[in-house]
Amino acid sequence: MNFESILAHHLVDHKTSHKVVATVAGLPVDMGLSPLIRTMWIACGVAIVFLTFAARSQSSLARVMRSMFEPLALFVRDEILEPIFGHHAGHYLPYFLTLFFFILTCNLLGLVPTMSGVTANPWVTAGMATCTFGLIQYAGVKEQGLASYVVHIVPGGVPLILWPLLFVIEVFGMFAKCISLCIRLFANMLAGHVVSLAFLCMIFIFAEMGKAIGAGMIVPSVGLALFIYTMDVLVSFLQAYIFTFLTALFVGGAVHPH
């Protein structure tokens, strides 16, 4: 059996339609739909329905859901944003709450059978990192003004002769931060899927040696896959927190250059 082809079948997104709207640096921007995009929209729909119901309804079910979502929202506000943004936290709160719940929903939905691992795709996380990059620029310019923001990209106290060099390094650093965000989320979520599939494939790999051996591997393989699956649930929350926290940290660095 070809493990790589199985992985590719489960993890690589395949366009079901093609609609090239532009070409950037020789690369086509194909806006055609794919299972992954549909899963992302389902995640958005789930987030909108659940969160809106919890926020607006007065039913007992909504109260129970609100009591589940509120601690998460308060955690994002009190533990992530307020230490970094202080009294500006309220302005950025909707963005970061959406970021946290969007990544969390996509992560968790990726664990549901028949759904695609949205955040296990680097081009999705690249889109998220691009949003972070845009927010860093927006917040920096908004809070400091364009000239001050550009000047403060380089830390104060640097000799004038080194300033251009450090400016280039800092700009590259800014991109590197966003790329690291992209790779961290994608790699962590992909790893869970790869390891789970690897454990399940062990059954078939060993079955090629002998059917009895393959049957003997069912219980340990499924057990280990379930363990990794449980870990993935934890990782889903953890990665949503890490992405939100690091985004807040980077944006906070642009808002408060000192």
């Binding site: 909108i48 969160l51 607006r56 959406t98």
Partner: protein, 170 residues
């Protein structure tokens, strides 16, 4: 697996568009009411906490007032007790002084009475002794002595007696 890393800018654009739309939708429909409810609850809790703190401060103030009043009452009772003790002491001293004065007066009067009684008795005794002496002398002399002579003799006798008494006491 190489296909996974094959650039898919369309997916990235879809992600950005989807995510930004989600930010707008959730901001309008979910975060507004949810955060408003959270803010209202926090404001209510803050108001309750402030009310409780105010009530506690009021209770502490009343307690301090009561303690101050209690201290005043205790001080007042202490003062009253001290004044009563002082008055008692003064009354006792006054009564004692009066009693001592009365006793001294009674003693003086009694001494005076005794002295007067003694003098009277001594006078009576002298008269009796004189009469008896005269009677005895008349019997011895078988003649009566007239009252003038008798007085003269008796005065001379008592004078001698006084002289002899003084000489004896010296």
């Amino acid at each position: 697996m190489g296909d996974l890393l094959k650039p898919d800018l369309g997916l990235t654009v879809w992600t950005i568009v989807t995510f930004l739309c989600l930010v707008g939708i959730l901001k309008a429909f979910a975060w507004g009411p949810l955060l408003k409810a959270v803010d209202e609850r926090e404001a209510r809790l803050k108001a309750d906490r402030e009310g409780a703190e105010k009530a506690r401060a009021e209770a502490e103030r009343i307690q301090k007032e009561l303690e101050a009043q209690m201290a005043g009452v205790q001080q007042k009772s202490k003062d009253l007790l001290a004044a009563a003790t002082k008055d008692g002491e003064a009354l006792r001293a006054k009564l004692k002084a009066e009693a001592e004065a009365d006793a001294a007066a009674i003693k003086t009067k009694t001494m005076a009475d005794l002295a007067a009684e003694k003098d009277k008795l001594v006078g009576d005794l002298r008269k009796e002794v004189a009469n008896l002496s005269v009677l005895a002398a008349e019997k011895l002399l078988h003649k009566s002595v007239d009252a003038g002579v008798q007085k003269t003799v008796l005065d001379g006798f008592f004078k001698d007696l006084e002289s002899a008494k003084k000489a004896g006491s010296n």
